[in-house]
């Protein structure tokens, strides 16, 4: 079994706000992230797939196909978007990095027919990242 990771970047804006609690409570939980004018990040996404090395090609996955799927299923929908306002998963869910990693996993799972998805890692900042392995 070999693991392969593809890295890409996207930039998006968001804010954290739960309409079910008061403005003061939102401010307490989310701090400056609760500002409804939003703010932005340069995200780094790492998608790790796993599989056996094909004896003929020496590849675990067709990288070109992987890149096309990543572009189509993830980057086209997230890059230079406002996550709360334009991305369907976050119309009713807070676009934290945790939820973003789950959403990206769900977008790729099922579409990624060329290899088995192992991990989705999303960096919001160089010192903060989230991993999701598709676990319940």
């Amino acid at each position: 079994m070999v693991y392969l990771t593809r890295k890409c970047e996207f930039s998006a804006s968001h804010y954290y706000y739960n309409p079910e609690v008061s403005a003061e409570e939102n401010q307490r939980i989310f701090g400056k992230c609760a500002n409804l004018n939003g703010h932005g990040h340069n995200y780094t996404l790492e998608v790790t797939v796993k599989g056996d090395v094909d004896p003929k090609t020496g590849f675990v996955v067709d990288l070109k196909a992987l890149k096309e799927i990543l572009n189509r299923e993830v980057l086209d929908g997230l890059d230079h978007r406002h996550l709360n306002k334009e991305v369907p998963e976050f119309l009713r869910q807070i676009p934290t990095t945790e939820n973003l990693a789950i959403a990206i996993w769900n977008r790729l799972q099922g579409k990624l027919h060329v290899a088995k998805l192992h991990r989705v890692r999303v960096y919001e900042l160089p010192d903060l990242f989230v991993d999701f392995y598709g676990e319940a």
Partner: protein, 140 residues
């Protein structure tokens, strides 16, 4: 859904790798320049990985400010700008980064309970890093 979150912190400390049970020449052979008598320092980068279910109300595993507070008060204030050999945590062990990883994991396991502590990863230099997950297998 179980999600893993990692936060990175920086601290600087000095140490000297030396084992009292070994002779001078054995220490030199084992630790090389890390055995030099007056010690030396590193800028350490610490990555703390926690995991848990995403709270539907907040969208978060745990509040980052709680994690920051624990790491700041329990780890960084203890080890930043100190000589590790002089700390009581290393009274009986050599302050290698292996041992430091284990010490930090055990400190955080006690003090941070808002999410499950998965592992700590400690970079001693850009060229080497160490991971400790309380004895559990590491994820890729």
């Amino acid at each position: 859904m179980k999600v893993h979150l990692t936060r990175r912190y920086l601290f600087s400390a000095s140490h000297r790798l030396h084992c009292d049970e070994l002779s001078e020449s054995q220490n030199q052979a084992t630790y090389g320049k890390c055995n030099n008598p007056h010690g030396h320092g590193h800028n350490y980068a610490l990555e703390v990985t926690v995991s848990g279910q995403v709270d539907p109300g907040t969208g978060m595993i745990c509040n980052l400010s709680d994690l920051d507070r624990s790491v700041q008060s329990e780890v960084l204030e203890r080890f930043d700008h100190v000589n590790l050999n002089a700390r009581q945590e290393f009274a009986a062990t050599v302050p290698t980064t292996e041992n430091l990883s284990e010490v930090i994991f055990n400190i955080l396991k006690q003090s941070f309970t808002a999410a499950h502590l998965e592992k700590v990863r400690l970079e001693e230099t850009m060229m080497n890093s160490f991971e400790y997950a309380g004895g559990a297998e590491l994820r890729v």
